[in-house]
Structure formats: C-alpha cells, structure tokens
Homo-oligomer: 424 residues x 2
C-alpha cells in the first residue's frame, strides 16, 4: 500500500467540556464522578444540548476493576447519566486512557456512524491503601519484566531522570522548578487537587512549626524548602515527593460533534485538526531513556494531519506525572531542544503562564491531580476553556490562544496521544 | 438533529481470521496467546500480508488486571507481534470486549484514518483459583447493587432462566438440549476447549465407573445423564454444570481492510455490512428478565444498516454463556418467537448444524470455551471460515452461507453487539 497523508473523512469539533472537582472524593463512585463531569460539560454548551442526541459514549478508565471491583465502567456511566441504550465502552491505555477515548470518539464521528459523541474518563483511586494503589498502578508497566522485578512508577521515571542527569547534566533543581511552576498555575485552578503554590505549602509548614513551638525553619525560598528532605522526602531518587503527581479521584468529559453541525451548539467551537497516537516498548526494551519515542511519533502524526509545526502551538497541556516527564514532553513535542534547553525551560520562565510557551497552565498532573483514566480528557477541558477565554484567573492573556495541543502518556511511554485544537 | 440511517463512510472487509487453541493454557501469557492467534490469522490471508502494513491494533480484554496483574494489554500485544509503534488500545465491555474491538476497528477504517486494522481479543483466566475467577467475573455486574449483594453470573442468568420458565413454561430439559446441540458441534472443532459430545462425556463416565468396579450407571441417553445430579450438579438452579460455559484461556483476531483494497489480499473477502451496539441497564434495573433489550436494539441497528432481515441470515454465532442465553439470543435476533418457540428450537433440531437455522456451529461459548475478552472475535473467526467453506468437518453444507451474523453479550446484557457479514 502506498504511504498517504492521514486524514479524517469528516471534520470534528468540540462544543462542550467539563470536569468534576479533582481530589480525594471518598463520597462518590466512578459513575457519580463521571456524572459530575457530564453536568459540568452540559452547562458549558452555549446554546444548550439535549443529551438524548448523544449517540455513543467512550469512557477512559485505567483500573476500576482494581480500585472498585468494577468492570464495564462505560455502560455504567451511560446508565448513570441516562444514555442507555446508546453504545458505551471503556478504553484503556493506562494513564492515556481518556485521550484515547477522545481520539476514538473523534474517529467515531469521522466514520459517519455518529454525529455526536460524549468522550471522557474517570478514575476513583483513593479507595485503597496507598501501597495497594502503587501496586495497582504498577500493572501498567510490564508485569513479566518490570513490576515483578520490583519496579513501581516513581522508580521507572527515576531511571529516566537519572539518565537525563547523566547525559545532559540536568540537576534536581531543574526538575523542582517544574513543580514550582505548575503549582503556581494550579493555585489559580479551583478544581485542582492542591490549589496552592509551593510558597503556600512552605508558609503552611512554617506556620505549623511556629504553632508547635518547635524550631522554625528559615528557608529563603521554595527551592530551599523543596531541598529539605525533612519536608520533601525522596520517593525514588531523584524523585522527591514534590516531583510526583498525587493520587487523585476525578472525571472529565467533552462533547464532540460533526463539524457541519458545530455552530448549532456554540458560536465558538473548538476544532480538532490533528490527532496522533503511537505505542512504545516497555522501558526494559527501549533504545533511549531520555525521551519517549512514542510521543515523538504521535506528535509527528498530529502535526502532519494539522499541517502545523511546534512553532505554531500557543499553549500545551503535557503529561507531567513526574517532573522529568514534562522535561521530556516539551522536547518530544519539538518545543525545546532535548537536553539542557528543555531541562531549564521552566527555571528560565519560558514555560510559565506568561512565558513564551505556556505549559500546563491548568496546574498539570502535578498540581491539578492525576486521576489516571480522566487525565487526558481533563487536559482537553483546560484547552477548551483557554481557547475560548473562559479560564478565569489562570487565563493566558499575553497571546491569542488559537492553536493548542494536549500530550498524554500511557504508563512509562508505552502509549502517547497528541492532539491539536484550533479556534477559528 | 434529524434521524438518519446509520452508514459508514467507507466499506470494510475481513481478509484474515485466526485463533489460538482454546482451553486451559498454563504455559502462556495473554500476549503469547494473542501472538498465536495473530500467526494463525496471518496464515489465513490467501495472498499474504506484510504485518508492517497494519496501522492500528484494537484488543478486547476483560480483566488482565485481575488475572495477570497487567494493564495496557493492547500495547503489550502490539509489542509482542512486532507492531510497535502502531497505535494500540484495549477496549472493555466485559464478555463483549472483542466484538466491541472489532466494531471499533471497522469504525477506524471507515473514518479514513486507517486502511488496515488488526482487531481481536485475548483472555487468560485459568491462572487464579476458580472462586477468585468467579469474583473477578462478577466485577462485570453492578458492584454497588448486584455482586455486593451476593450475585455471581450463574445466579444472574439463573434469574433469567427461572423467569423464562415462569412466563413461558420453559423446562430445564429445553435448556439442556441447547448444551447437547452445541457440544455436538464443538466436538468437530479441533480448537474447542472440550471437543466432545455430551454422549462422549457420558460414555467416559460409564467407562470410568466400570474401571472402578462400582455400580455402572444405566443412562438411556444424554438427557438422562444430564439429569443425574451426581454427574451434573446444580451451580445456581436451574443452571447445572452443563448449562454453564467453561473458564477458558484463548485469543482470536481478524484482519480488517478498506473495501477497495480487499481483493489485494484474497479473492474471497468477507464484507461487514451491518454493525450494531447498544448498552443496557443492570439486571436489578431492567424491565424484563426474559430477553436482553440491548441485543434487540443492536440487532435492529445491524439489520437496518445491512438492509436485511433476520430471515435472510443463514447462520449465527450467538452468546451462549449459559444455555438460557442462547434461548434469549435467538429470540432477540428475531429468528424465533420469544417463549416456547425459542426455548424448543434446539430440541426440535431447528438450530442444529444441518437444521433450518444453524446456531453456534463452532460449539459456542458452551463447548468451544469462553475466554471472555476473546469470545466475540472468535465468533467472527468461525463466520469467516464458514462463509469461505473452510470450516472442515463442521462446515455447514445444506445451504450457501452467504450471510451470517455474530451476537455477543457483555456481562448480563449491559452490552450487546450484533454484526452482519456478507460473502459476495
């Protein structure tokens, strides 16, 4: 077969997007979290939508079997929000599950089968003790060759971080500055798991020490605080607590429609102009530890389909499950050169909310939280709001956000999804 | 939005199909089972195929997280068969997972994004003790309202069977005759989990009793044997052991291509002319216990798209996880009237391999086995072989099998997929 440019047979637009509050949510199940996201999405559709017009439901979810003893999360969400008997399914690619769900929703409309699709994801993770949850997450690595040898995700990403340090001279402070930047964004996000800056955290610790009447730490700044192992312990070196995203409950979803009917729902649809997805080998079987090859392939596909380059993208939500992941992401996407340039981008303010290339203005997985099956869809929710000027306090204002991108990784890079969005 | 006929933007054909041997397979993992199915599929492509031309992989799987502590089964299968970095994903709708994977693969080609897709499923179930596996399967029901109240699948389907008995006077012998018929078919299937007739089983038991020197049972026929609770105990009344499908390891997959290139791979492609999928409420929340409403909706969609009726279908592979399930399936599909007519169809030979409407000529889930995430794809493998006259000893010969259908249920009817195939 001849090589050809990948094109969708029909254009697809996003006309609504919503998410539940992210955090520890002991009072609700996955299906209830998803219903919260659904109602939030419904309220976002400017001209209104009759949910009965939704023709299919794609739900990303990583491990409800493990956390809730519940399979079939797709049809349960459909039943919960009144969509039965619409076709509903769960898609799973670990932490990329809901980006894959969104992509499959796009494909569903492009196929001609559907005109309107609800796509998103949900994850309820806080229900088990933390060590069980770490084991449940480790099922996303290779059980035969990795988790069975003792690897968990902080360790897998630590291997990539130490390789990056060795090859490029990257420092732990470079990584911590990613966390500082993302908390600075997430502090402005009312739905974030931890809506606070690192300075807020530092000041809380100082206040607590004063309250207790013990010795009061005298950190000069956030970086010094983060370098104090009494307050920011090592999880798997160089990943300290603040290099890791939290374990979060949450859900997010978007409403996709065929391009030709998009304006029936809003005057400001967001068009999906590029989608890429690739798989990768497990870490033990990969040629490089300092980049995610699957992300490079997915980005290339998305850029080609959208007919744009990395230089055209205004803002991006990228997969920062660990701080090193954001450093790799912004290089894999072509925004910065792999190595020192990417490692120092956060520290130099390049990726700040008011920087040249804002990255993770939502707070990212690091601060907003990482309910694994909902994360990709939540990235897209942020993009929907930023592109329409509806992101409130954290709205990017130093540029017209007419082109944006989400980058979502499954596991340690065995899946990557990159999607490009346009406001016309 | 106006109601419109559902149509795919592009035609899709199947040019290869294969499966692993089904059974207890302690020596292999899910990814190895899938590789077996892949190699079998590859050998079935008449004019050959370069696997590097495959553009995406859709893998149905229900519970590798629970049985193998392994998520991301889609990308692992891709890596195992050399498809990295092609996009790969897992789709899950309990026991309908791989029919959903096949349907999503069809949609992927119709969307214009792909010309060639590998779709299938795998399940490795025998690895846990049987009671754990029963619990893992129960995650497919509603954890909040059903499994937590003590229901497992034999009990859920038993509720449907007793309702059928109450409403229509269906007898347990009616149900047992479904098992006898399906074992009679499966005995001719070398890849079946139990390639033997019920008479074979009965004769084995007699021989064993003689060997032991004890009293030799004097059953007149299979039905009398199956009514002997010493040899066919009740699991959840009226479901006896032989009313239930086994716990099976196995994988299956098919190769889908855009219609316009199908003849590059074989002179006898099998075209997918109808696909339907619907979701249903859980059993506790459903209006009827004697049919699967989702199956009726999915069938209606598939018939409409294919522009055929039930009377046109020559053979069907239907979801007989329990004998009552086949009785409901052949009514939901419109082959027989719900009630006595459907309940007695097997006993009257209507659904036999040489009957008016052969059902489950493969042996069905009952005899061929039910590796849940692989079952739907395995149904399609049988259809591929039957439509091309390649089913060996169990080939249907009393008619030209030019139109066939597969019917796959997720859980207790929360998902149904119906697909219609044509040989031109």
């Amino acid at each position: 077969m001849a090589k050809r440019k990948r094109e969708l047979a029909r254009g697809v637009a996003m006309v609504g997007a919503g998410m539940s509050p992210f955090g520890i949510r002991p009072d609700v199940t996955n299906r209830e979290l998803f219903a919260e996201a659904f109602l939030d999405m419904k309220a976002s559709v400017d001209k209104g939508v009759d949910p009965q017009e939704i023709e299919a439901l794609y739900v990303g979810n990583c491990g409800a079997e493990m956390w809730e003893s519940q399979s079939v999360i797709g049809v349960l969400c459909a039943s919960e929000i009144g969509l039965t008997p619409r076709p509903a399914l769960k898609v799973e690619d670990a932490c990329a599950s809901s980006s894959v769900a969104v992509r499959e929703g796009i494909i569903g409309i492009a196929s001609g089968l559907y005109d309107m699709v609800l796509a998103g994801g949900t994850e309820k993770m806080s229900v088990l003790p933390i060590d069980w949850t770490t084991m449940a997450l480790a099922c996303g690595s290779d059980t035969t060759y990795e988790s069975s040898a003792g690897f968990t995700f902080p360790g897998l990403y630590a291997s990539m971080a130490t390789a990056h340090m060795e090859k490029y001279g990257t420092t732990h402070d470079d990584l911590l500055k990613v966390a500082i930047k993302n908390h600075s964004n997430g502090a402005l996000n009312p739905k974030a798991h931890f809506p606070m800056t690192i300075k807020d955290v530092m000041n809380m610790r100082i206040a607590k020490a004063k309250e207790k009447g013990g010795p009061v730490p005298s950190w000069a700044d956030e970086l010094e605080f983060l370098n104090d192992p009494r307050y920011n312990p090592v999880i798997a070196w160089p990943n300290t607590l603040f290099d890791c995203c939290p374990i979060t409950d949450g859900a997010a979803c978007i409403l996709l429609v065929a391009e030709e009917i998009a304006k029936d729902f809003t005057d400001t649809p967001i068009y999906i102009i590029g989608t890429g997805q690739a798989s990768g080998h497990n870490l033990h079987d990969r040629d490089t530890l300092t980049s995610i090859p699957a992300a490079q392939v997915a980005a290339q596909q998305a850029y080609e389909m959208a007919d744009v380059g990395p230089e055209d993208i205004k803002i991006a939500e990228v997969h920062d499950c660990f701080t090193i992941a954001e450093v790799m992401a912004i290089a894999d996407l072509g925004f910065f050169k792999e190595g020192k340039e990417a490692a120092t981008a956060a520290g130099e303010g390049m990726t700040a909310r008011d920087g040249r290339r804002p990255i993770n203005v939502s707070g990212g997985l690091k601060c907003k939280g990482h309910p694994v099956g909902a994360t990709g869809a939540a990235q897209v929710v942020e993009i929907f709001q930023q592109m329409r000027g509806e992101a409130g306090q954290r709205q990017v204002t130093n540029m017209d956000v007419n082109l944006a991108l989400n980058h979502n990784i499954g596991a340690h890079g065995t899946t990557a999804v990159v999607q490009i969005f346009e406001r016309r």
